[in-house]
Every structure is written in C-alpha cells, then in structure tokens.
Amino acid sequence: MYKFFLYAMLIIIYLGLAKALSPSEIGIHYLQNERGFSKLIKGDLATVILVDTHATGFLIKTYYQKYRVISGYDTVEELIVRTSKEFAQKNLKHIGLSLYRKTDVSEEFLPLPPGSIYMGNREFGDWSKNKKGESRWIFHKAFKNFPRYLGWGTFRPTREFYQELKSKVSLNQPYFGPNGEFGPNGKVTRENFPQFFKDERMKKVEMKTLLIEYFKENF
C-alpha cells in the first residue's frame, strides 16, 4: 500500500512538473470557448479567422487551432491555441470563417465570413459598381492586401451579400455566403485555405494500404 501511494505521488509530481515546466506548455494559450478571445486579442477592429485545426494524441486528444488575426491598423499575425474538445469540434464546420470580431465598443462571437467587420466601414473601403452594374465592396489602396489576408481571393462581396449577412447577425445565425462560398464546403474557403484541404490530410487511409506502404518503404 505504501509503495502504491508512493508511485501515485510520483505520477502526480511528474504530471504537475511537466505541466508547469515543460517548454511545450509554455507560450501556447488555452481557449475554453469563444469568450476566451477577449483576453487574447488586443488590437482594435480585429477579426480572428480560423485557418486550420488539428488534434494530436492517441486516447486523450489535444486540440489545436490556428487563427489569422487581422487588426485594422496593425499587422497580421498567426495565433496557435489549444482548445477544448467541444470548441474544436463545434468549429470544424467554421474553417475560413471569422469566429471573433472586436470593435472599439463591442465584441462579436458569431461565425461569419471573414472581413464582415470592415464591410460598410468607409475608413477601409467603399462600394463600387462594376461593368455589370453590381455594387461590390472594394478596400482602399492602403488596405489592398486585405482580400488576401481575409482569404477572399478574387471574391468581392456585393450589397446583397452584406444585407443578408446583417439579417443573419440580427437572427444570431452563422452565415456562409449566399451560395455557401465560405466554410469547409465553400469554394472561396477551399481555394484560399489550401493547407487545411490538402489531399493527404483529407483522405482516410485504410489499414491495408497503410501496411502495404509501410512494407514498401521499409523492406
């Protein structure tokens, strides 16, 4: 009994020390849920886009998420956090969407297409009519890289898109674009976040294939 107690103590000490001192635990923040963004994101007019998500571990999984943090007047940064299982799984269908937005006066946690915080803000851009007579949101020259940062590619939102987005926000519902352009099944997201949609990450490998590849590589 004494030895068992000693052994249990040893395991607790190891776990405690590893948690407190291990370099892999230092520098990566933990995000329980979307409310945790408030502490992590410092800049104003910031939007946080979910870029990638990954789970490590065999029996007990650790969930990681990679975000692109775009602050209106500051730099673009990447942020890697550990998250809870619930939060990670809930946001699997929100890849490429903005999960958090922060303005001077408010915070939003609804998953929306990236850049929604800047649409309609004349400091960042304006509505401009194209040859077809469609009115689209165009960023000012100072923010010409924003469509790339936001993962828009060649996509430019129309006024209808903006109106629909606002109505979804008022209903407190996530929005994926009029034709589902954003999110894991959206064309725009798939084109502009290729890392997450790489073939080797998407395909499910059967055990038989795995074994054949193993024997080919090793013998």
Partner: protein
C-alpha cells in the same frame, strides 16, 4: 605520402600524451586513496589481491572511458589541441575521482576501503566498486559531451548528475530484497551481481536522461528532471513485468523462512536480480527516449 606520414606522427604523439595523462591520473588516485600509496606507486601484483586489482583497474577503465569523449582539433594547431586535452583531461580526472569519492562515501558509509579491500580482500566490495567506477565514468563522459567545452555548464551538469546519482543509489534498498550492509560484510557475491546490475542499469537510465539536445541550460535541466521522474515511473512496470513473466521459486514449499533467505543469498538470485534490473533499465530508456510524439508544427 608526406601528409599521411605527418598524420600518423600526430596520432602517435597524441597517443603518448594520453599515456602521460594516465600517468598523471595514477598520482591523482593517491590523493583520494592515500592508503594505497605504496601499492599504486610500486609494481602491482594482481595475484596477491584480486579485489585490489579489480578496484584499481576499474578506475583505469573509467578514466579511459572519459578520455574518449575529449576530441583533438588539429586544425587549431597541434600544441593548442594538446593543451585543450591537458586542461579537459585534468578536469575530467578531478571530477571523476571526486564523483567516485562522494558516491562511494554514500554507498559504503559503513565500510572502509583499507579494511574491505586491503585486509579482507572483499570481492563483493570490489565488484560493486567496479560498477561504480564504470557508471560514474560513463555519466561524467555524457556530461562532458553535453557541456560542449563550457566549463560553467560542465560544473552545473556535473553537480546535477551527482545529485541524481546520489538519490538513485538509495533507490536500491526500495527495489531489492537483499540486505546491502549485512551481505557486504559477509562478502556475498549475490549482492554484488544484484547491485552491479542495478547500478549499471541506473547509469544507463541517467545517461539517457542527459543525452538530449540543449539550447538553454534551464530548459535542459528541467527536461532531465522530467525524464528522470518519468524513468522512475516506467522502471517499476518493467521490473514487475519481468518478475511476473519469469517467476522464480525461493526455497521449498512450506520451507522455513531461513531457507528462503539462504536461496536469496545464492549467486543465482544475484544474477536474476541484476539481469532484471539491467533489462528493465534498458527497456525504460527505450520508453523514455525512443518514442517520437512529434509536434503540431508539421501540420500547422
């Protein structure tokens, strides 16, 4: 041809220099074991006292092990590389003998070298001392390699290593059924094989904990500490597992306790315990050091 001959000459000269350093070691040995002055400085007669021969020559194996970690860099100049070897070799001799002195003071706190080796020719004591010499040499070698020619880091790591070894030798009483002091007095060979296996195993585990890349001394020391604790968690699993897989019989059924005690003091039991300790330790190093968990970075 001239270049090849030159390199051969350099090798021969360096070999002679290493011999000179071992000669220096012979006198350094006397500082820590003043009582052997007469034996060490005269011609040694191995047949007269095998325990003493084992005790002395184990240290020579040890110092050879440590010297093998020092590198000559001929590109920086022959004399500079000789000077480098002389400085680090001297340091190695001092640290090695000091480590041995401290560890043997902990393990043999009830015993005296003169009594056990010179008077009683206690082979059990000599074998245990032999194992200490090899283990400490191996660990000092590891620490010297990890220090990468930095004296400060060497001293920090050496002290750290000494603390871990100091604790580890006390662990023997926890995991062995043999009574160390009583059996050592009786010159019991079962004890020396059991303890020998234990100390060699512990040495392997500790060396494997120190053997890792380091960029920052604090992080490195933390990693070593974590690996040491992890080894303490893993080792009992292998020890218990091996004992369960290969069960042994001690004494006849319904035998008196004395009979079981006698069986435990037999040479076979010493081999058994020693082998279990070494095998367990090697497997522990595998679990602690050879599992690559990877990181999130290839994915992100």
């Amino acid at each position: 041809m001239a270049e090849i001959f030159d390199r051969l000459v350099i090798r021969l000269l360096l070999a002679l220099f290493v011999c000179l350093m071992i000669y220096v070691y012979r006198y350094a040995h006397v500082i820590f074991y003043p009582t052997v002055k007469r034996q060490v400085l005269k011609k040694i007669n191995p047949a007269e006292n095998p325990a003493d021969s084992l005790h002395l020559f184990s240290r020579i194996i040890g110092i050879a092990l440590i010297f093998s970690s020092i590198t000559f860099n001929e590109t920086s100049g022959f004399f500079l590389s000789i000077f480098h070897f002389a400085v680090w070799g001297t340091l190695a001799i001092i640290l090695y003998l000091l480590s041995l002195y401290i560890i043997e003071s902990i393990v043999f706190y009830n015993f005296d070298y003169t009594d056990e080796i010179l008077k009683r020719k206690n082979m059990s004591y000599a074998v245990i001392s032999f194992c200490h010499a090899i283990v400490i040499a191996y660990l000092t070698r590891t620490v010297m390699i990890e220090a990468e020619n930095s004296l400060v880091i060497l001293l920090v790591l050496w002290l750290y290593m000494l603390v871990i070894v100091g604790f580890s030798v006390k662990y023997y009483t926890f995991i062995s059924k043999l009574t160390f002091n009583r059996l050592l007095i009786q010159k019991n060979l079962s004890l020396c094989f059991s303890y020998g296996g234990f100390s060699l195993g512990a040495g392997l585990v500790i060396a494997s904990c120190f053997d890792q890349e380091h960029y920052d001394i604090t992080v490195y020391c933390i990693q070593v500490l974590l690996k040491t604790i992890l080894s303490l968690i893993i080792f009992p699993i292998f020890k218990k597992g091996l004992v369960r897989i290969f069960p042994i019989k001690l004494g006849e059924e319904r035998a008196l306790e004395g009979r079981i005690d006698t069986d435990m003091q037999s040479l076979g039991y010493g081999f058994y315990e020693g082998s279990v300790f070494i095998a367990g330790a090697i497997l522990t190093t595998m679990i602690v050091n050879r599992i690559q968990f990877g990181t999130i970075y290839p994915f992100f």
